[in-house]
Symmetry: C2
DNA sequence: TGATATTATTTCAATGTCAAAACAATTAAC
DNA sequence: GTTAATTGTTTTGACATTGAAATAATATCA
């Protein structure tokens, strides 16, 4: 394990922590994916259905920002869900650029059936940590995540970034 | 934020922690990716080059397991790196099923130039946490990761898993 | 109002990704 | 020593993903 790299101690610690975080997240994701896939849903599809179940109809833009995916990607994912009759598209009448996506009865039936299983799987995974450890992990992740405040895939680069680029 | 889902308190805590972990990891990854991409490398390509730089020539299988990617995937990634002249393939003489991948001079030049930048970017991101917090985050991630001991994408399902499935 | 900018979605090309099947080479069992 | 099982890679088909360009609709403001 460990990155055979000799930088400063700060760099070593950060790299080491980064690897642990990434591996934990990715391997966890991989295990959960494999379960979701059993129901014929990809992670993104699952994410869309779950959002719609818990938040009601949403525009594609909102879904994309929620799942940290590009608008182009969301179009494709919704395409595939629509083909299988799990969601419906409705052009907004107020702002005809927007498209509202909502669950069909079949979609709702499916996600309602699958979600509790998913929740249980996650609970299972996290039972490796005590409740206090989970809270601490959550706190640290949040602190780390907020630091950079991810602009999201679509977001155009701002002045500061463009400037940094042109150096 | 938060998953509007009423399960048990255990489920709520686990789901909440899961979301924070995932978002932290994904948004961090997204920010780092954007930098790596500037050099015309994808994350996977970067991962391969970095492994080769720090560990020397490796077989595709080893690379795949290290990066938690399937063998089919690694084939494609190496294909693309090879096309660009950054790595070389050499069939092993000892076991002719294996393919050793190594850096070409161009590949080595590139990764040597880029890696320190990457390390600095990561260090920068993690400076949001104190050293102690970083160590604690690492510990929790490791504990969590070990729990499931990810089988990796390719790994065939073993007896225990097949049994669990058929329940 | 009319030109211009912004916003939401779609399309496209390139790459990544997995699972499963096909192949090829090696090892184990008989 | 053949046959059978295993192992490492490639291929294939389906979906995901991004960034950039194209479209279309709305908002701004001179």
């Amino acid at each position: 394990m460990g990155t055979r790299y000799d930088g400063t101690p700060e760099e070593k610690l950060a790299l080491d922590t980064y690897i642990k975080l990434t591996r934990a997240s990715e391997s966890l994701e991989a295990r959960l994916d494999r379960r979701a896939t059993k129901h014929g849903l990809t992670v993104s599809q699952f994410g869309v259905l779950e959002s719609l179940l818990h938040l009601g109809p949403l525009t594609q833009g909102v879904i994309g920002r929620k799942l940290l995916k590009s608008s182009g990607n969301i179009t494709v994912v919704i395409d595939n869900l629509e083909k299988r009759g799990l969601v419906r598209r409705d052009r907004s009448t107020e702002d005809r650029r927007q498209v509202f996506v909502s669950l069909t009865p079949e979609g709702e039936e499916l996600i309602r059936r699958i979600f509790p299983e998913h929740a249980r799987a996650i609970t299972d995974e996290f039972s490796a940590l005590t409740p206090d450890e989970q809270r601490e992990l959550g706190r640290l992740c949040k602190k780390l995540g907020l630091a950079g405040d991810s602009p999201g895939p679509d977001a155009p680069q701002n002045r500061a970034q463009r400037q940094a680029e042109s150096r």
